[in-house]
């Protein structure tokens, strides 16, 4: 199991009911981690519609979660 910190934004935060949480995961990649959390929180989004960031930089869904990493799921942005 890998321990990571997950951050949620906008409608994902609204659905999760928290800004972030500590997660223990057996997922081999970030896509797998998101799938677990989607099931837990009932997120509407498929990962194809999101981007993922690790430690403040955009990352790839096939990257493995690293122990202690801060992982953010990024729904489509609407600034401006």
């Amino acid at each position: 199991m890998t321990g990571v910190q997950v951050l949620y934004f906008a409608s994902l935060r609204q659905a999760a009911g928290v800004e972030g949480e500590a997660v223990q995961t057996a997922a081999s990649d970030l896509a797998g981690l998101y799938a677990e959390l989607r099931t837990r929180h009932g997120f509407a989004w498929d990962s194809a519609h999101l981007r993922v960031a690790v430690d403040g930089a955009f990352a790839r869904w096939e990257d493995a979660p690293a122990e202690g990493a801060q992982i953010a799921f990024i729904p489509p942005v609407s600034g401006g």
Binding site: H49, A57, A72, G79, G80
Partner: protein, 143 residues
């Protein structure tokens, strides 16, 4: 030096414009996004902007570096507001100085477009009906 910033206070444009003054610049184009009282047929009473600040600052800075490489401009700044905003408040400001107006306008437009596409900031609209909704441009595709 940081060209992209995020603020929880009302945006003050004068100091940012001041950073762009340059004897080589003959043109200055700027853009402001204001909170308007309606969107797609619904009456809006206010907005809330949320940012993933760490990534938004990095991505915004990268975007302004790209603008400086892509366009024949002297310099540029962008600032985005976060938190609660009322009707008429400024949500975002872009300023660009350049030798000539072609590049100033083109870069200013490009920066606001890219900011809206790429920078992790989200808008939640509060409607007069009391409902609140996060806006995600491709929400239809996700359903």
């Amino acid at each position: 030096m940081s060209r992209f910033s995020i603020t929880a206070e009302a945006i003050e444009t004068a100091p940012l414009r001041g950073q762009l003054l340059d004897a080589r610049a003959g043109a200055f184009a700027s853009f402001e996004g204001w909170v308007r009282d309606h969107n797609e047929g619904q009456s809006v009473s206010g907005l809330h902007y949320q940012a993933y600040a760490e990534l938004a600052l990095a991505e915004g800075e990268k975007l302004l570096d790209e603008a400086l490489a892509l366009f024949d401009i002297v310099d540029a700044r962008c600032v985005h507001r976060v938190g609660e905003l009322s009707i008429g408040e400024m949500a975002v400001w872009v300023g660009v100085s350049a030798g000539h107006r072609d590049a100033a306008f083109a870069a200013c437009r490009w920066i606001i477009d890219e900011t809206k596409l790429r920078v992790p900031i989200w808008k939640q609209e509060r409607y007069v009906s009391g409902v609140e909704a996060w806006l995600h441009p491709t929400v239809a595709a996700a359903e």
